[in-house]
Subunit: 229 residues, 2 copies
DNA sequence: CCCAATGGTGTATATCGGACACTCAGAGCT
DNA sequence: AGCTCTGAGTGTCCGATATACACCATTGGG
């Protein structure tokens, strides 16, 4: 099957920077390319957009096909369209950022992906195409997002300690924060619900576990509330 | 001439939201479409991306062709690719925001554009495609940008009064600011050079004119300086 | 000469952000 | 049982920042 157009034009792809959080470190999901170009290299999951397919639907589909992951939160980063970024010819890619709770998903490589694995987001391997630049841009996006929106809660399990959250924020920002000041702000937001439950199996005093009050956040937003950490 | 591909796929266009500032109001440059679809309707300037053409180069080219404008500052907003946004078939557009000093450019419609004119950015006419949504997004972008980056200086003439700048910021934000507090912050930034010249032809005390210290801003940026108004 | 309109200027107060250190709880080990 | 280790939990002070607020000066025009 083949299709004709009056003018030559770039192709459109989507790529997803999927972040997860595990072992105190921000991680990014990469696939090993099973096809040329860059066969055997690590890359962001993604692929061509189908005709009449929404961009975010395409990103979700490619993620599902290549890695088995179905993210809850997926938002557009921006388009990358520098000439020469794809050796097959000019392609414009629309990059997305997705956040997943690592425990909720097991990664399963398929279709174009020979393998799919989590890597440290701040120390990734060499990447195909211009994916290193896209990842860099996504990390900058996260630095902004983690301070101004409650994104941490999409990366942590449903229940988490205040320290869990702080370590995550520190990992994204790449800098350490003061425990008391962090908690002061956190409580001031009023978005944490104490569960009454505690960590188990830790060789020290167990930290209390909290839950994110999504309903309250939604209603605060309507009143012009601005999240800030 | 015709080109063939193995798979059907969306086309790529660029659209530019060009902002200017005049008569105390933020303005946006629109063209009247000279071709179907939406012939006769107002729309953002833009068009198809050529093969092997960078996205920003395409946006600049379309702007030049359709309106005669060559903006200094052009930055990507994001991609819009919702199915059905273009009646000709699926097209993905990458939207840009451009800022121009109104006095430096005279607008000249050509090629696909039957006309090109400035409209109030906060009260635009009905627009073709999903351009109203793109404009909305661009305005939100400006609200963010005007507080965190010295964008006002790209919209004003080389010399301007403090009040000019304040009125511009107020027009973008859609809210009024306190004169003394605004000037306090402005002076604290240390980015205004007094020119010693004054307004002329005004029926009141003439305001002193200033110039933006771009060199100083560039050097401050390297030291991790964050602009904030 | 008076009026209208805007230019230009400082202080006092509330709020926010950042620095900073100790005690307590619980698990594991001897 | 007692000791040790690790991280949990908690409040104050100070400096910086943001906001509210009012009057006189200057100029052109009528």
């Amino acid at each position: 099957m083949s299709y004709s157009y009056e003018y030559p034009r770039p192709s459109v792809t989507v790529d997803a920077v999927v972040f997860g959080y595990d072992a105190g470190e921000l991680r990014v999901l990469l696939i090993e390319r099973g096809e040329e170009p860059f066969r055997g290299a690590w890359a962001l999951p993604g692929g061509f957009v189908g005709l009449d397919e929404d961009l975010d639907a395409a990103a979700r589909r490619e993620l599902r096909e290549e890695t088995g992951i179905e993210p809850v939160l997926l938002e557009q980063l921006r388009a990358f369209g520098t000439r020469g970024r794809d050796p097959r010819g000019h392609t414009v890619t629309v990059a997305f950022v997705a956040l997943v709770k690592l425990g909720d998903h097991s990664v399963q490589a398929a279709t174009d992906a020979a393998d799919a694995r989590w890597f440290p987001a701040n120390d990734p391997p060499a990447l195909a195409f211009d994916h290193a630049a896209i990842l860099q841009c996504a990390r900058a996006h996260m630095i902004e997002a983690v301070r101004t929106r409650p994104v941490g809660f999409d990366l942590l399990p449903a229940q988490f300690s205040q320290t869990d959250l702080q370590k995550l924020v520190e990992s994204v920002l790449g800098e350490e924060l003061d425990k008391r000041n962090f908690r002061k702000k956190l409580h001031a937001l009023g978005l944490l619900l104490p569960t009454g439950e505690y960590e188990t199996g830790v060789p020290r005093r167990a930290a209390q576990l909290y839950r994110f009050d999504a309903a309250r956040y939604a209603s605060l937003l309507k009143e012009g509330f601005q999240f800030r950490l």
